[in-house]
């Protein structure tokens, strides 16, 4: 028994075992994604940047109500349209993105079909230099926020 223990101790087998793992990995394929050049394609359900479709929005404010941290501000007023019908017009639809936790509850609350507000834009590059200016979305930003970015071709790294 003691001999076996000595055998193990003196031959350093356990240490060589460990070295063999790192040694093996030295030659294995690396998993690094070279970020700005290569990008990982987000999944279809990926919760990223907000988009809003003003046409579809019925101004029900459910998204603002359901937001756990109250970062959606909606103002609207009634207006007669060309046909003389009273319609709701958005004054303001702001999302204070700097506090957003991307829980998607606003999208879930939206009663329109398809959704008027959604996060599945696959946009995640939202770094900004200014918290209040860049991460505060008004209607203009919400409806076309870097819309072109979404379709910008990039080297897609397959998942997994």
């Amino acid at each position: 028994m003691a001999l076996k223990k000595w055998l193990d101790k003196l031959t350093l087998l356990d240490l060589f075992d460990g070295l063999s793992v790192t040694g093996r990995h030295f030659f294995k394929k690396k998993v690094t994604i070279q970020y700005p050049e290569q990008k990982k394609l987000p999944s279809d359900r990926f919760r990223g940047m907000f988009r809003l479709d003003e046409e579809r929005c019925i101004k029900c404010t459910l998204c603002a109500i359901e937001c756990p941290i109250n970062i959606i501000y909606i103002d609207w007023h009634n207006e007669k349209n060309a046909a003389g019908k009273s319609v709701k017009v958005l004054d303001r639809f702001d999302v204070d993105l700097k506090r957003c936790m991307f829980c998607q509850l606003c999208e879930e609350a939206c009663p329109t079909n398809p959704k008027s507000i959604w996060l599945t834009t696959k946009t995640y590059e939202m770094a900004a230099y200014d918290r209040n200016e860049s991460l505060y979305l008004d209607i203009r930003k919400l409806t076309d926020w870097r819309a072109a970015e979404n379709v910008k071709p990039f080297t897609v790294v397959e998942q997994g």
Binding site: D8, D17, T22
Partner: protein, 388 residues
């Protein structure tokens, strides 16, 4: 060429050594370490600065030089300033006695590839490298920081513990080489057609482990111990002073590797120089052989770092005193006996090589077998632990 007298040449070599080694450290080893560690960790490592990340060393150096140089209030100013210097200078000085290769001829000038061949080379090395640790101890103490102090104290203990087995391991080599001169040691290996690593297998192992410990590298990086002491002795250091510590650590690594190559691996000699079948190896110049071997040991350093956990302070001491020193002493006796007992003296070394080699292979195979058996046992012992 009257200008290039041996004295002048020596100065040239000194300047080269002091200027070139830091450059190598900066540009090659730092990058190599990070790249190799990265590769072992399934990632790429730094590859952004310059082509393939080759200029990472420059970037690191620039960063360190431009950083604010902080001196903590109530630090021992003079010592605090001196400590990094003390960490670098001995390591660089030690390189003076290392023979990087035999004499070469450039044009009409013929000069050996060492700064000086002191006849007490090995002793000089031991003495000078142990000074380097003072830099760490004093730096830790002078920082007036509890973490640094603990790091410095650890370093002191480590130094005392590991100087001894290192010295003892080298003593057994002295028995084989009969000389303290580094050049003479290499010549002796050439003459015997035998690298001292074979008869000195145990000694080499002890030497290298002690060397890793002396340079404060993983798994013995206790004075630094990033996750425990934050950064240990150099917590308070920044900028150029930190760069000096950095340099000192890597220079010490180089020294340890160079000594390992010179003493155990035949210095600039190619493997088995007398075997006719391996003649083609002589194509590679001796100096390159030296570099390749040194590079291998540096690689081992990095390999160890990326593989092993860190010892604890008291365990490190126990390892040094309870294992390495007794084994080193026993090894000296064995080597001495082998040399004395066999006729012709040097034949004992061959005998010893066979014994050590055979024993090691045998034990390794046995242990491997045992490991296979016990692993199956262990997995079977835990119910349903292995998925189908």
């Amino acid at each position: 060429m009257k200008v290039l007298t041996p004295t002048v040449l020596t100065y040239v070599k000194v300047v080269l050594l002091v200027a070139v080694v830091p450059a190598i450290v900066g540009f090659v080893i730092v990058l190599a370490e990070r790249r190799i560690m990265g590769f072992m960790q399934a990632r790429l490592g730094p590859n952004r600065v310059g082509p393939k990340g080759l200029l990472q060393g420059v970037a690191d150096l620039l960063k360190l030089v431009t950083k604010e140089d902080i001196t903590p209030a109530r630090a021992e100013k003079a010592v605090y300033f001196l400590a990094p210097v003390l960490a670098v200078i001995p390591a660089l000085t030690a390189l003076a006695v290392i023979p990087f290769g035999p004499a070469i001829r450039i044009g009409k000038v013929r000069t050996p590839l060492w700064v000086t061949d002191v006849n007490i080379g090995l002793l000089f090395l031991l003495a000078i490298t142990s000074i380097g640790v003072y830099g760490i101890i004093l730096g830790g103490w002078a920082s007036n920081n509890k973490y640094s102090l603990l790091g410095g104290l650890r370093s002191a203990a480590q130094l005392v513990s590991y100087e001894v087995p290192m010295g003892l391991a080298l003593v057994s080599v002295l028995l084989m080489s009969r000389s303290l001169s580094m050049v003479e040691i290499v010549h002796r290996q050439q003459h015997l057609h035998l690298w001292f690593v074979f008869p000195g297998l145990v000694a080499f192992f002890l030497y290298f482990v002690s060397g890793v410990a002396e340079t404060n590298r993983n798994p013995f990086d206790l004075p630094e111990a990033e996750s425990e002491l934050v950064s240990g002795f150099n917590t308070e250091y920044s900028g150029v002073k930190f760069a000096f510590f950095f340099l000192g650590e890597y220079a010490a690594m180089i020294v340890i590797s160079c000594v390992a190559v010179t003493v155990f691996f035949g210095g600039w000699l190619p493997p088995f120089p007398h075997v006719a079948a391996l003649r083609f190896l002589h194509v590679v110049p001796p100096f390159a052989w030296f570099l390749i071997k040194t590079g291998f040991f540096l690689f081992c350093y990095i390999w160890f770092r990326s593989t092993f956990p860190r010892y604890r302070f008291d365990q490190l001491m126990a390892l040094g005193w309870k294992w390495m020193i007794p084994i080193a002493l026993a090894n000296i006796v064995v080597v001495a006996l082998a040399i004395l007992a066999t006729p012709g003296r040097s034949n004992g070394l061959f005998l010893l090589s066979y014994i050590f080699g055979g024993l090691f292979v045998l034990m390794y195979l046995l242990a491997k077998l045992r490991q296979k058996l016990t692993r199956r046992e262990r997995l079977a012992a835990i119910p349903a632990s292995v998925s189908e």
